[in-house]
């Protein structure tokens, strides 16, 4: 069956923000991607918010046809929340790589305070 769109008001953020803010946010996410990929040991960056888990994400994508940025960035009043899922290659220890990714993101966003979530979803290969 064809997927039905969820009503727009349901989930927090994206669809209720004005277009300009949308653009600003997605470019922060876009800027962060090479920063993360540049950290030694990062083999891949995966979709932070898998489509099927994110109602809002599915709604936008279905309407505009564009894909969500890989890195999820949410700009709050207090800080910038960043969420990223990575794959790490086996040459370097994953816990260390995860910490370096968080550092790199924090440095990039400085002086804005950041709250960073890093998930290592794949080890090696």
């Amino acid at each position: 069956m064809t997927e039905q769109l969820e009503p727009v008001g349901m989930a927090p953020a994206p669809t209720t923000q004005p277009a300009a803010a949308n653009h600003a946010r997605s470019s922060v996410a876009e800027d962060l991607l090479p920063v993360i990929q540049g950290v030694g040991g990062v083999a891949a960056v995966y979709q932070a918010q898998p489509l099927w888990q994110s109602i809002a994400g599915a709604a936008i994508a279905a309407v505009t046809g564009e894909s969500l940025p890989l890195v999820a960035v949410t700009e709050g009043a207090e800080n910038v929340a960043v969420k990223v899922r990575i794959g790490v290659d086996t040459a370097l220890p994953a816990p260390k790589v995860a910490r370096e990714v968080a550092d790199a993101i924090r440095k990039h966003l400085f002086p804005r305070p950041a709250a960073v979530e890093v998930y290592v979803v794949k080890l090696g290969q």
Binding site: T2, E3, W52, A61, V63, G65
Partner: protein
């Protein structure tokens, strides 16, 4: 199991109904065995419906994600193949809609793309097929590409997936009567083209 070929093949001998049952229980190895078994047909269908191999693989992946989530809703485990193919149909249509919205492709471009795709692809030499048969199939591909999209979809879903009018109607969000009509028109056009070709 992942890894060594000997281990993989264990599940390849198990029939669909059993695999689907295990997969519904959470057995990812059984689910993967189903994916491998029906993957080629899923890919072929998605390719005919979307017009491109790259889209086809995306559709197959999305289909498998959706299928995993909805396995419990499958009432008849033995019918898992048809069920997977129906999801492929829906996802292919959705995929096309998204792509069109994003890139503004119109129908003519779509057809041209699938047309070029087939001809750019190197011919797979199947020794069973005579040279004549190969070009008949090629002629059919061309004729198919020229059909109006809705007719082509009905035809592919019928001929590739053997879906009923009701199933096709659900996938395409039209009435079974419309399916019957479009299918008939597709066949008439295709049959006529192929007769002339001979």
């Amino acid at each position: 199991m992942t890894g060594s070929p000997a281990a993989q093949h264990q599940l390849d001998l198990v029939p669909d109904a059993l695999l689907a049952g295990r997969a519904a229980d959470g057995d990812t190895a059984a689910f993967e065995a189903l994916a491998r078994r029906h993957g080629p047909l899923m890919r072929a269908t998605a390719r005919r419906l979307t017009g491109s191999l790259a889209d086809a693989d995306d559709v197959v992946q999305e289909t498998l994600v959706q299928a995993w989530k909805q396995l419990e809703s499958l009432r008849d485990p033995a019918a898992v193949k048809g069920w997977l193919l129906r999801i492929v149909g829906s996802r292919s249509i959705d995929h096309l809609r998204k792509r069109r919205n994003h890139m503004g492709l119109d129908e003519v471009e779509q057809q041209a793309e699938s047309h070029v795709e087939d001809h750019a692809k190197p011919q797979i030499r199947d020794p069973e097929h005579s040279a004549v048969n190969n070009s008949r199939v090629e002629a059919l591909k061309e004729a198919l590409a020229k059909l109006p999209e809705e007719q082509r979809r009905c035809w592919v879903l019928k001929e590739f997936n053997d879906q009923s009018y009701e199933e096709i109607a659900l996938t395409l969000n039209i009435s079974p009567a419309s399916v019957r009509g479009r299918l008939a028109r597709a066949r008439i056009t295709l049959a006529r083209t192929m007769e002339e070709w001979r």
